[in-house]
């Protein structure tokens, strides 16, 4: 039989026509309304490039500059692990999932209670991520209340690198702590140039919707461009709050903000890696919270993946595996599954916030553990159906139908293929009732709790060398 390619299921929500219209609107925003650029250096750079500066620090950015930045931004790049191995090739709509940043509370894995987060939580989440196969990158998951607030992001970073070797997305407050974090990263990579060649971390900074670029944020943006630290710059263009309530408008504005950041980024260092996309969630009109479980965010990031494929080519930033529920219940499962699955089918690239509860206020180890399983399930689905002689299995059918009393279960074809032909869940329970009851009648939350604790107990991350650890301590104590 002639070779048949496997079709990769793909969710598409925008066609070329819609993509062009949204892009045109973003260009119009930049060229006619401009952005508020509070960074004098960046403002001067834009002015020199021919942009019109008005009202002190507002600047209009013409389409040519934007198109030039889109052109020079890399269309693919790789995030490495901390040992220098390629881990996340961001190309071809590859999807990678990871945790989220700064929550104020966590669900205690021992007591099940919601309590303020401490630095030990950052370490635990990192360790869990290190031990979970389908979670590709790590974020802090906690805003620790037991470390000096001034250096909170440095402490979080150290706790992370001491507990995982996976790629990371990190947060910094300003130009000061990001420089320290970069020093630590360089120590781990074996020098600044080695880090630049094989970056293992991505900075998460945010412009402010509508259309505002504070100085500290642009400081970080320029620092990352210079040092070759990949970064994303998703403004919080939540529909109805920071952005128009209609998704097209929120996207156009968020994309305009991203493009303005990209222009400065590429002017600073052409070809430096940039991850594209705003966070277009919604401001819930009853509770006034920014939702972390709504279909709108999933829809807008699927649309963004279409914009990537039709136009920009630049890998995208996305979210999934989070919930607005206060506990890990059916709502949390439904919202996590919906967002994970749609992000995968949309071929979004770097997907964060796995394991958030309570609209990003609370983190939950069990939720990360469940999300890990849901990613596996979605990945299986997104793999599509391979069609070839082996999978069409006419030989097997011939054998089985020719043997009275036989069935496929005992055929060699089943033995040889069942592992890849089927999705085998680990935590989603399919046991018979009595077996389930015999094992303690555990629900999903409980099973994830047991599994999270097991990983925290048993998983051993490959330790960093003594020298690296010493260097880190030296940098921090300076």
């Amino acid at each position: 039989m002639k070779e048949v390619q496997t079709f990769r299921p793909r969710l598409k929500v925008l066609g070329k026509q819609q993509v062009d219209a949204i892009h045109a609107s973003a260009l119009e925003i930049l060229a006619t309304m401009g952005v508020k650029m509070e960074h004098p250096g960046a403002l001067a750079m834009l002015k020199n490039a021919g942009c019109e500066v008005f009202n002190e620090d507002w600047v209009k950015i013409p389409a040519e500059l934007v198109e030039a930045a889109i052109k020079t931004a890399p269309k693919k790049f790789t995030l490495y692990d901390q040992n220098g191995n390629p881990a996340m090739p961001l190309e071809d709509g590859n999807s990678f999932y990871g945790t989220g940043s700064d929550t104020n509370f966590t669900i205690d894995v021992e007591t099940g209670e919601r309590r303020p987060t401490v630095i030990a939580d950052v370490a635990n989440f990192a360790k869990l991520v290190d031990g979970l196969d389908n979670i590709s990158f790590n974020m802090s998951m906690a805003n620790a209340q037991d470390v000096p607030v001034k250096d909170i992001y440095i402490h979080a970073f150290v706790a992370m690198v001491k507990n995982t070797n996976k790629p990371m997305v990190f947060i910094a407050d300003s130009g000061r702590d990001i420089a320290v974090i970069h020093q630590i990263a360089s120590a781990i990579a074996g020098g600044e140039e080695k880090f630049r060649a094989k970056p293992f971390m991505l900075n998460y900074s945010e412009a402010i919707s509508p259309l505002r670029f504070p100085e500290t944020i642009v400081d970080k943006l320029i620092f990352c461009a210079q040092k070759g630290i990949p970064l994303c710059l998703p403004s919080g263009s939540n529909a109805g709050g920071g952005a128009p309530v209609t998704l097209a408008g929120a996207m156009a504005m968020g994309i305009a903000e991203n493009l303005a950041g990209l222009v400065i980024h590429q002017m600073t260092n052409k070809g430096a890696p940039f991850l594209f996309g705003p966070n277009v969630s919604v401001l819930d009109m009853k509770s006034a919270v920014v939702s972390y479980g709504c279909p709108e965010w999933s829809l807008s990031q699927a649309a963004l993946a279409d914009m990537r494929d039709e136009l920009y080519g630049i890998p995208t930033w996305a979210y999934a595996g989070a919930s607005d529920s206060k506990v890990m219940d059916a709502q949390a499962g439904a919202e996590a599954a919906f967002s994970i699955y749609s992000a995968m089918l949309a071929h979004a690239n770097v997907i964060h916030d796995m394991g958030y509860l309570e609209y990003g206020s609370t983190s939950c180890l069990e939720m990360v553990t469940m999300a890990n399983e849901l990613v596996a399930m979605s990945r299986f689905f997104a793999g599509g159906i391979p069609v070839n002689d082996g999978t069409l299995a006419l030989d097997a059918l011939k054998r089985v139908s020719g043997t009275p009393g036989s069935m496929f279960l005992m055929d060699d074809h089943t033995f040889e293929h069942f592992m890849e032909a089927q999705f085998t869940p680990k935590l989603l329970d399919r046991s018979r009732y009595d077996a389930w009851e015999g094992a303690g009648s555990q629900d999903m939350y409980k099973r994830c709790n047991v599994e999270a604790k097991r990983i925290l107990d048993e998983h051993e991350m490959e330790p960093k060398s003594k020298e690296v650890l010493e260097q880190i301590d030296n940098i921090v104590s300076k």
């Binding site: 805003n143 920071g242 009853k286």
Partner: protein
């Protein structure tokens, strides 16, 4: 006294045009401005607050009703008698130093305004000194501080300290809020009040000033 049903309906619908017409009608009928406010507009807003609390009205409807009411108050303004207090009190509000989140702060400000308070919004990333300066300048009853980041919460006690040093603390009530802020924290830093959302911020502000 006229029947304010049509006016109230217009406020609840956020129909500014009709509300203004109805207010004008009351003015033409020589209604006392104070009555239009107390028996017409305020009960409508109370009803809206009730609907919102019950989850049958949404934030934009609430804000639109508040705006409608404000437009009507503007029309009434020249007619208020001397001594008519049309403001429930003055609230100075800002997001603390280092913090750029303002959606929550803005919402709190709008709700307070809708409930009849006068608002002085001094923006985001407001330093303790700037709070002091603005308090001196505007003489508010309540100072509201918002912080969304753990890293910026310490700016709250710093601001309170600065207000104390400037000798202004005793003249004002302090209310704080924002996602990482708690009741306990408010007690700890000796703020007078904490509110978890915009609705309760209104209730707390009234409580602080002993009004209903």
């Amino acid at each position: 006294m006229s029947d304010y049903k049509a006016l109230q309906e217009a406020v609840l619908k956020g129909d500014i045009k009709t509300a203004l017409e109805q207010t004008q009608k009351a003015i033409d009928a020589k209604d006392v401005a104070r009555d239009v406010l107390d028996n017409g507009l305020i009960p409508a807003m109370d009803e809206m607050g009730d609907r919102f609390a019950k989850g049958v009205a949404f934030v934009p409807q609430m804000l639109r009703a508040a705006k409608t009411m404000q437009e009507c108050v503007k029309l009434l303004q020249p007619l208020f008698a001397e001594g008519d207090i049309t403001s429930k009190g003055k609230v100075l509000i800002g997001t603390v130093k280092g913090d750029l989140h303002d959606i929550g702060k803005n919402l709190v400000a709008m709700m307070l305004e809708g409930a009849g308070f006068t608002i002085v919004d001094i923006g985001v990333d407001v330093s303790p000194d700037k709070f002091v300066e603005k308090v001196k300048e505007t003489n508010p009853d309540i100072v509201g501080m918002s912080a969304l980041l753990s890293t910026t919460m310490p700016a709250m006690p710093e601001t309170i300290e600065a207000l104390k040093t400037a000798g202004l603390r005793d003249n004002i009530k302090i209310m704080i809020g924002g996602a990482p802020v708690t009741e306990k924290y408010a007690t700890q830093i000796e703020a007078d009040s904490y509110a978890s959302d915009a609705g309760s911020a209104v209730a707390k502000a009234k409580e602080l000033l002993g009004i209903s």
